[in-house]
């Protein structure tokens, strides 16, 4: 069977895909993967909603690619099931899963022209010629590569190759698009542009479910509706992007996503009706967004580097004092590292007081309770 349903002769443009694009969810049902006796994915349960972009991020070797390849059908789960839409694909070969896949080094077929690369999936599935022609044109137009149809991959730049790889995956109208570090071979400038382009692409194909594996948190934060953070073969947190960023549930998430500062504190009073708790760090009492902490709990107060200010104002009611250790000027941003009661604290400041303190000086830092969150000390998986 062909995994893609062809509606026959008519031209399916992007709008048609939108209509059809109820999309498919991807459901990991306690999926584990082992190489020999080495378990690289511990039973993983995760639901990617139709039309959602889920970014899977985590350090090298944490099992991101393994999870993606399990969906694609290139690694067999040792246990558990994988469903795409209503179909249990666990036992289906890759070519019957109806997916699009883009890999880090693009893997464009070097012996085929751009148009033949893009047509590959449709030809392999035996689609009619006129349909293939239309789809190839559409897909190349979508990624802005229409004028390059007759080129060979070796005649394209890295960014252009990546667009063709995406067009090739889109041409088969996949239910789910799998992207494994698609931008990591590109340099920073092009990468930023491509992230924006993928975001635009998804706006034009809102039904397309995307599993986006990366170790770049900026890509994840920019693109994803939800993020799953992997660590040692487990998902250590999963949730809507902004929420995960604003209220990281554990130390690893807070540090991995945006390099948060974590001040060890002892809860003085749990969160009240407005959601704010008070906690003591050394002999200062600070206010922060709480969860369900109770007085006396050991906890961590999470503050992002860009939320710490060297100047006081009415919002920034919390105040801590640290010893300045390092100053790194980076053009629009200045990075400071301070020592606050033994904890290194990073500050990214856009505006600085006119007289910059010298390393070794005692410097007060101010921050708003709304920019903080408390997270439990022992939850760092």
């Amino acid at each position: 069977m062909s995994a893609v349903t062809f509606t026959g002769n008519s031209v399916m443009d992007i709008d048609a895909a939108k209509v059809r694009g109820a999309g498919s969810n991807v459901y990991f049902d306690k999926v584990s993967v082992a190489y020999g006796t080495h378990v690289v994915l511990h039973p993983l349960t995760l639901d990617i909603a139709p039309g959602e972009i889920l970014a899977m991020i985590g350090p090298s070797g944490s099992g991101k690619t393994t999870a993606l390849r399990a969906v694609a059908g290139f690694v067999r789960p040792a246990s558990g099931r994988i469903r795409i839409g209503a179909t249990d694909v666990t036992d289906l070969p890759p070519y019957e899963r109806g997916l699009g896949m883009v890999v880090q080094n693009y893997a464009l077929f070097p012996h085929m022209r751009v148009e033949d690369n893009v047509a590959f999936g449709l030809r392999a599935q035996g689609a009619d010629k006129p349909l293939i022609g239309e789809r190839v044109k559409d897909a190349l137009a979508t990624v802005g590569m229409a004028t390059f149809a007759r080129r060979y991959p070796r005649e394209l730049s890295g960014g252009q190759q990546q667009r063709v790889a995406i067009a090739r995956a889109l041409a088969v109208r996949p239910r789910v698009l799998l992207l494994d570090e698609p931008l990591s071979a590109l340099d920073a400038q092009i990468r930023r542009n491509m992230v924006e382009e993928i975001a635009r692409l998804h706006r034009s194909l809102p039904g397309l479910t995307i599993l986006y594996v990366t170790h770049d948190q900026t890509e994840a934060l920019t693109l994803a509706d939800k993020i799953a953070i992997m660590r040692d073969g487990r998902v250590c947190s999963h949730g809507p992007t902004t929420e995960l960023y604003r209220r990281p549930p554990n130390r690893f998430t807070a540090e991995f996503l945006g390099r948060a500062n974590l001040l060890p504190v002892t809860v003085v009073e749990g969160a009240g009706p407005k959601g704010f708790a008070t906690a003591r760090h050394g002999d200062v009492v600070l206010t922060g967004a709480g969860r369900d902490e109770r007085a006396g709990d050991k906890s961590l107060l999470c503050i992002r580097p860009q939320h710490l200010s060297l100047t006081a104002d009415s919002e920034h009611t919390n105040r801590i004092v640290g010893t300045l250790r390092e100053v790194h000027w980076q053009g629009e941003l200045t990075h400071l590292v301070l020592d606050v009661g033994g904890t290194p604290v990073r500050v990214s400041a856009t505006k600085l007081p006119t007289a910059l303190p010298e390393p070794g000086a005692r410097v007060p830092l101010f921050f708003a309770p709304t920019d903080t969150s408390l997270l439990p000390e022992d939850a760092g998986v």
């Binding site: 290139f74 070969p93 070519y95 699009g100 896949m101 890999v103 077929f109 590959f120 090739r168």
Partner: protein
């Protein structure tokens, strides 16, 4: 070049020219000269003539060329198909089995080719496997001797092929046969061509096993050359050798041109 200084490079080139000249070109030059020599007693031949070429052309030379070319082509094609097939299927096996079977493939090349010929002669001397005195046994012996090289070449190519290409093809809906034909084999093409060229050259020069098994009427060039020189007809043997070299070269160059045009390189 790793050597940057000018004198250093000159010395290296001279060394290269010396080795190449002495080991490769000198024997060929001697054979070329003998094939044209009227008489050769001193350091250099006395008088040049094309009589030896005329002689061998009058003799069975063309039949030998034909036998060699057909044998070379058939054995190489067979070796290419089976070596590729073996390399492709071994890729799916575990590393231990892969290494073992890979080694087995190379055993015929480690054994003297005369023994391979002898083995085939004995093995196929009884019905229902009676092949003695047929052209098939010549081709089989060549096939046995050269298939290790096609296998080795194609395996090396496969090992260098990123699995991404085939995986992307599969994920786009290509079934295994489609994927093999449209992705794997085209990407392997340079290795397949190299494998074929090498097998063909090896087959054109094969003597040891062929001498044991060849039937009357299927005398390959090396066998002809051997019997000529064995009879003391050195000059005719040299002329035939030059014909062998020319035939092989023309074929390999032709092959290269055809594949260049086909792959658009």
């Amino acid at each position: 070049m790793l050597v940057w200084s000018r004198p250093g490079r000159i010395v290296l080139w001279m060394l290269f020219a010396l080795i190449f000249g002495v080991l490769f070109l000198a024997p060929l030059a001697v054979i070329l000269l003998s094939s044209l020599a009227d008489q050769w007693n001193g350091v250099l031949p006395r008088g040049l003539t094309t009589a030896h070429y005329a002689d061998v052309a009058r003799g069975a030379a063309w039949n030998s060329v034909k036998a060699s070319l057909i044998t070379g082509f058939a054995a190489s094609a067979l070796a290419l198909v089976s070596g590729t097939w073996a390399a492709l299927s071994l890729r799916l096996q575990g590393p231990a089995l892969k290494r073992l079977l890979g080694l087995l493939f190379f055993i015929p090349s480690a054994v003297p080719s005369v023994s391979v010929g002898l083995g085939l002669l004995v093995a196929f001397s009884h019905p229902p496997l009676l092949l003695n005195g047929t052209i098939a046994i010549v081709m089989i012996s060549h096939f046995v001797l050269i298939s290790a090289f096609t296998f080795g070449n194609v395996s090396a190519g496969l090992a260098r092929l990123s699995p991404d290409f085939e995986q992307v093809a599969s994920s786009l809906g290509a079934r295994p046969a489609y994927r093999l034909w449209h992705v794997t084999l085209p990407l392997l093409a340079p290795y397949l061509v190299a494998a074929f060229g090498l097998s063909f050259a090896l087959s054109m020069g094969e003597l040891g096993a062929t001498v044991m098994v060849y039937p009357p009427g299927w005398v390959t060039l090396p066998v002809s050359i051997f019997s000529l020189t064995d009879r003391g007809d050195i000059f005719a043997g040299a002329a035939l050798t030059m014909i062998l070299v020319a035939a092989t070269l023309i074929l390999l160059l032709g092959l290269e041109r055809v594949t260049k045009r086909a792959t658009g390189a």
